[in-house]
Symmetry: C2
Subunit: 140 residues, 2 copies
């Protein structure tokens, strides 16, 4: 497994775990339906308490990232999209944050644009396609 955690980092352990799992799901390292390591197993590997892992899992479930069932385990959930309006608002907020960060870093507009394009290209396949339906093999 590729999870790691630093109890000294100041960031709560369960938050670190959440972020790593979110990233893993987003990048495709964890795929839909895949079973997550059990609470006890992961706790053993990371030398932390099962309750801490459980807390991370619970919050991830509330956020719709994973689904969990007693006796069965936890599984990567199907990605669900929220209302379009909330989606836009959240995206705008994220972009605003990016701009503030770029300003603070003294990144010029051109550099920011170029780096964004590069990053987007790397992620294009992971993001939802433009106006595509659930038809897997559309022949257009």
């Amino acid at each position: 497994m590729w999870y790691y955690v630093d109890p000294q980092s100041g960031v709560p352990i369960y938050v670190q775990l959440k972020e790593q799992i979110k990233k893993a799901v987003a990048t495709g390292l964890l795929t839909e339906g895949e079973q997550m390591p059990s609470v006890r197993e992961l706790a053993l590997q990371l030398t932390i308490n099962p309750n801490t892992v459980s807390k991370a899992y619970q919050e991830l479930e509330r956020e719709g990232i994973i689904q969990t069932a007693r006796g069965l385990g936890s599984f990567v959930a199907k990605r669900q999209k929220g209302k379009e309006q909330e989606q836009k608002i959240a995206l705008d907020k994220a972009l605003e944050k990016l701009m503030i960060e770029a300003y603070q870093l003294s990144v010029d507009a051109d550099t920011l644009h170029n780096e964004f394009i590069d990053k987007l290209a790397a992620w294009k396949d992971r993001l939802v396609k433009g106006a595509q339906n659930n038809d897997s093999g559309n022949r257009t």
Copy 2:
């Protein structure tokens, strides 16, 4: 003043303050050299403790956003750029975070691209110019 704070939000008050001030500096609402409201004054307005404001100011100073001196007050610092390498790393991290967020929101690549371009246009004048010197009145 346009600062506000929600003690119930779960986010520490001093963090909320920091973010708002950062944003104010980035957008130009606060300009270089301008004096910040005093610790006590701001604490009175927000109905919080002066120490909480002080903590925000202290962290902002460590991050180079403001400069502060006992008996004088706090002032918006001159924006300083870090090493180019660290700049790139931080930017990359921010973009990565944006992509993960976009994935979670089920935003498609085209929408993300369009929204980014719009946002960048709005911020273009605030960001550092490409290869420009301190000459204020270039005639080009």
